[in-house]
Symmetry: C2
Amino acid sequence: MSLSSALLEAAVDQLATLPGIGRRTAMRLALDLLRREPQEVARFSEAIRRMREDVRFCEVCCNISDEPRCAICRDPNRDQATICVVEDIRDVIAIENTRQYKGRYHVLGGVISPMDGIGPDDLNTRQLMERIQDGIVREVILALGTTLEGDTTGFYLNRKVHERGVAVTMLARGISVGGELSMTDELTLGRSIADRKPYEQGMKR
Amino acid sequence: MSLSSALLEAAVDQLATLPGIGRRTAMRLALDLLRREPQEVARFSEAIRRMREDVRFCEVCCNISDEPRCAICRDPNRDQATICVVEDIRDVIAIENTRQYKGRYHVLGGVISPMDGIGPDDLNTRQLMERIQDGIVREVILALGTTLEGDTTGFYLNRKVHERGVAVTMLARGISVGGELSMTDELTLGRSIADRKPYEQGMKR
């Protein structure tokens, strides 16, 4: 694909570096931006630059924050004894949306993936270990994805946290609420049978 | 979705204005950008801003260009008697990639779409009418999409160009080269039967 404009080509090249965006889609995005007012595109471009330049990570939980300490860590009403460990900020948002959790978080910034050369030291694991040594934290909830990498990360963190005398829990696995049995994959269904609970307890909300 | 960072939120809002990018995808893109070096994101942001600010449209054919006149219009070896009318620059690229066309182009910048409030005057039709009055242009090829809007635009332009005594042609419609008959839609197949050609002529390349 040779373009009549080096400027357009440069923008398409950059857009195509985004995950899941091929050159064809990048071209569609660039043409859409070209149709807008220059000030509008300047605002677009500036919002992205500023985000990367000025965003900080919470010094306690590594969540994204505009201040040294994020809103959740600053909130005195959140339970300090419980830390929910997640892969990234999207998981924080997902769990916050349930309104079921009143503890704090720890954002790893990824999962252990030997294939991609990502080890524990590339994640925010050191900060987590420091946090649980304050004598206040009683429970670490591992809220990681059910992938091979999520499991590897959970296995590693469970050992490390357990060594320091703090309880480790993980999210329940089973059939989805509102899900149909026949649509549930075998692994999940098998697990939900093995982990079955007394009826009264299982129906509790 | 409430985020812990107004800066992140602003970037996600902007990314979500792109066509086909919802807030969930925008968040994924923003997190990817956040993981990069600040200088890398600054280059990303700058390429987009500069494209919109400095890109020009060729004063002859309205194609995207870094100079007042695009490379195709400047090329003395391109046939000046033939203008291929397309919707946007992606079509120019697609046709150039065939290496079958040696004439020039005219980029409309869209198609007539009453539903979206886009009429002939919102497109580069005036420039096309001016171009064909130079006495050099002998043929206008309408290379528009086979949608309702493409057909409406073709119908309009055919009349206008014809009025000025210039021949109008359109792309052949029929079964794809390498396509299977059973996979071809009814309209296309029906059209390819109605427009059948003598065998020798149809096999010519």
